[in-house]
Amino acid sequence: MLAGHQTWKFVNPPVIVSTATVVGPEEGKGPLGDHFDIVHEDMTLGQDSWEKAERKLMEEAATLAIENAKLTKERVKFFVGGDLLNQIISNSFAARTLSIPYIGVFGACSTSMESLALASLIVSSGAADYAMAGTCSHNCTAEKQFRYPTEYGSQKPPTAQYTVTGAGAAVLAREGDGPVVTAATIGRVVDMGITDPFNMGAAMAPAAVDTIQAHLRDLGIEPDHYDLIVTGDLASVGYKIAVELFAKHGVPIRKTRYYDCGLMIYDLDKQPVQAGGSGCACSAVVAYGHLLKRMRAGELKRILVVATGALLSPLSYQQGESIPCIAHAVAIESGVDA
């Protein structure tokens, strides 16, 4: 099961039997807009607070994922989820509505793959026949909690990122049709001393590179084992830094395709997102919506999704602390030849 130092190689690879993605208007306008299950035109989703809107995104994604798997929520034994808000209220409150036994996790924007890795472990070990992983984020709740009020007129620097409004959920099963989770690497916390919360890409890039290197080392493989390696939300700044770090550390990343979800979800030239997308939902909706659809269509065989998270709080950066970061990698293979 344990491979190397920090990787789980699943002997009974759990199957991703269904996924669901729900996004906001800006994501719907982006290049991947057609790949999402529900696109909301209204940021409030008809709710009276941003927080309730975010919770609604999660509830919709979770309900739809269970529906798509043709299951009832009673058969899904565990729900592993988390988000960016204080005390992960979006997922905890969504879990209240779903009333599925719930494990709340926090890994900032890496929560998408953290929850998927844990849910895979639960299913693979035989602790449940079905488990669900989910995460969500909302642009306005993130702005409100981490930065300024949404309508406040502050000028964002070109390194800033735009938090994705959306939610993604995946249902894992011991058997069934669909792509399988073959391995997961749990990352270490890496801190390179970056203190600027408007430059998350630069803070998170070393964590992503560290986890990818650990993954390749633990499994004894090269990057070309995968058709595609994607990082979660490094955006344009972090992506360039990561490419340079790979070169510096001698990782032959050029042998495969390497890209970043934060760059895929928006059209950077046309949408006002500065360096690109970020947030828990960024990697979740790109992976569950876009990438898994391409896998089911047979365009991709093996992918590695590396969700990156900045583990800061508004309090920690106001007190001048640097930004510790983490990345978790999950390897997914299309079920055909697995």
Partner: protein
């Protein structure tokens, strides 16, 4: 301060930060300065026009400033409530932040944002979240300048 922070970093961190700095796109400082100058100047021009208007309607040069500021604040609050002010500000930067419109925007946006937490704990306690420091340090600065004034001109004036 910055040097002190640098000293605490390990060599690996220092090396990384230098590399990251090289890759980061720099802030367009000159463009920002120019836009701030033009937009800020334009807002002041509108203010001056309003003031002349009020003087024409019988205000004196001294009393006309109050209704002028009030009109600018209302415009800013309306633009903030319509969700446009932040979009203009991304483009104009300090140009919309420095004049009185920026102050109005900071209070209005905070009040709007925290309305969901109720009028007392939400609007009441968060309205000055961004504007508060301006008031605190404005008062402190006025106090210090006042003391200096008293020392230099002990008899008043």
């Amino acid at each position: 301060m910055a040097d002190q922070k640098k000293k605490k970093l390990t060599p690996v961190q220092q090396e990384y930060q230098e590399m990251a700095k090289r890759i980061e796109p720099p802030r367009p400082v000159w463009r920002n300065c120019l836009f701030a100058f033009l937009v800020g100047g334009f807002i002041c021009l509108v203010g001056q026009a309003l003031m002349q208007l009020f003087i024409r309607f019988g205000f004196t040069e001294k009393t006309a400033s109050n209704p002028t500021v009030a009109v600018l604040i209302i415009i800013s609050v309306i633009l903030t409530s319509m969700g446009v002010y932040d979009k203009i500000a991304q483009w104009a930067g300090a140009g919309t932040a420095v004049p009185v419109t920026g102050f109005a925007n900071s209070m209005c946006s905070a009040a709007l944002e925290h309305q969901s937490e109720g009028y007392v704990l939400g609007v009441g306690s968060n309205m000055f979240k961004l504007a508060g420091p301006t008031i605190v340090f404005g008062t402190v600065a006025a106090f210090i300048v006042g003391i200096i004034h008293v020392i230099i001109y002990p008899g008043g004036h």
